[in-house]
């Protein structure tokens, strides 16, 4: 069973190696003459005001939380879809209920304005 994953592991090792080599190559071959002005973060040629990495608007976190909720529910679709042909009508009704519950949450999020970008 896990044996099936071995070729993937080989692939991961090879591609990580190649990406690493690429970064290394750039490091070894590229010139390196850092100056004070060069290392200033780019802000259209101006000295940046304030730190670059900072607190982000809370909407992004809202999106992330919603994503986790919905993504997990969508993952449940996959095994259901695999055996759907065997389940027949029972599977349909079951999934209908599942989608209905999903929709309640979705409509709630929409109505609460979680999907608005204002």
């Amino acid at each position: 069973m896990l044996f099936d994953y071995l070729p993937i592991i080989v692939l991961i090792i090879i591609s990580t190696g190649l990406a690493g080599i690429a970064v290394l190559l750039g490091h070894l071959l590229g010139p390196r003459r850092p100056t004070l002005r060069k290392s200033v973060p780019y802000e259209s040629g101006m000295r940046p005001i304030g730190p670059g990495a900072r607190r982000m608007p809370v909407r992004f976190y809202l999106i992330a939380v919603l994503f986790i909720l919905f993504d997990i529910e969508i993952i449940f679709f996959l095994p259901w879809a695999v055996v759907f042909k065997k389940l027949g009508l029972f599977g349909l009704v079951e999934m209908f209920i599942f989608i209905a519950i999903l929709l309640v949450g979705y409509v709630y999020a929409w109505k609460k304005g979680a999907l608005e970008w204002e």
Binding site: D4, G30, Y42, G52, F84, K85, I99, W117
Partner: protein, 343 residues
């Protein structure tokens, strides 16, 4: 477990990775050339015949570029982010069948790395999520406002469209009754390409995929008109090249997945059914990929960019409900007309 198997895996992995790298190089050439023709220009035509050596020249230039690391950047993450972004893009196609089983020197060799992996589609969904990390980390570690905003925007965009993308996978899985991509292709050989059964799913997949790989008209994170280059604004030289490479390889990957899930993969009626046709499989798949890539480039040449809030609204309020509806519709039809889908 024999040595020959290991050698076979290594050779196949190398072919895939190197093929993708070459594909990336010539995809940039193809994009520039096509864009130029769309725009009444010639495109690159100086390096080599028809400019064919342009990607090589670009590559050599990027290797010899000075690499800058901004002050106060988180150096370790800054260096690791391009690798974290690149690797997932390179390994997604590990589960894609490029053809049937061929006979090489008496060995039965399937033309894929792990095409019969029984969780193929799930694997794709899982691995695509990982590239988000690279982008967020790149943006965050640069200590740059444009980069941070670009990184956050990009990740929010990708996760939003991932929902619709994952839902568009459900249709083909239901039709094939399997998560394995090899099974999905085989099922299409029997009952016809899934685009016939899943037209809505196909369109949803294309739109969501464009957003997922940050291509026009959804190329928000690197919107040069506002954030200059988004999350990779501070990157230069080879590290920058890796980000660009990821973008283009993702184009190839998405096209390959679309071809496999909806357009019959390596299958072409009347050709691959022949006994000698099995060798043609990879070329047919590549042909389909190029066709889809051409479409992606065409879209870029044609459409302006949507605004970020409109993009998010479309993902959550339009695409997600339609994708859910599509799953529902498919299941209802499959229950009402079970004979259509049995063999």
């Amino acid at each position: 477990m024999d040595v020959a198997l290991w050698i076979e895996w290594i050779i196949k992995a190398l072919i895939l990775v190197l093929g993708l790298l070459t594909g990336f190089a010539y995809l940039t050439y193809m994009e520039r050339k096509f864009l130029a023709r769309f725009q009444n220009r010639y495109g690159p035509n100086r390096a080599g015949p028809f400019g064919l050596l342009q990607p090589v020249a670009d590559g050599v230039k990027l290797i010899f570029k000075e690499e800058l690391i901004p002050a106060q950047a988180d150096k370790l993450i800054f260096m690791a982010a391009p690798i974290i972004t690149t690797v997932p893009a390179l390994i997604i196609l590990g589960v894609l069948p490029f053809g049937g089983v061929v006979n090489i020197m008496g060995r039965e060799v399937p033309l894929s790395i792990a095409g019969n992996l029984n969780v193929g589609v799930l694997y794709i969904a899982a691995i695509t999520s990982i590239s988000v990390y690279g982008i967020v980390l790149a943006g965050w570690s640069s200590n740059n406002k444009y980069a941070t905003m670009g990184g956050i925007r990009s990740s929010a965009q990708m996760i939003s469209y991932e929902l619709a993308l994952a839902l568009s996978f459900v249709g083909p899985i239901m039709l094939a009754g399997s998560l394995s991509l090899a099974d999905i292709v085989e099922e299409q050989m029997r009952i016809g390409w899934f685009i016939i059964y899943q037209p809505i799913g196909f369109v949803i997949f294309l739109i969501a995929a464009l957003a997922e790989i940050n291509r026009a008209p959804f190329d928000m994170p690197e919107a040069e008109q506002e954030l200059t280059a988004g999350y990779h604004v501070e990157y230069s030289g080879m590290k920058f090249a890796l980000f660009m490479m990821t973008e283009y390889i993702k184009m190839i990957v998405v096209s390959a997945i679309a071809a496999t899930l909806f357009l019959g993969g390596y299958h072409l009626p009347f050709v691959t059914d022949q006994p000698w046709g099995v060798w043609l499989g990879p070329f047919i798949l590549i042909g389909k990929i190029i066709l889809l890539l051409w479409g992606i480039i065409w879209v870029r040449a044609t459409l302006p960019r949507v605004r970020y809030d409109q993009l998010m609204a479309m993902g959550w309020k339009v695409l997600l409900p339609i994708a859910l509806f599509n799953v529902f519709l498919t299941s209802v039809i499959m229950v009402l007309f079970p004979n259509w889908f049995s063999h």
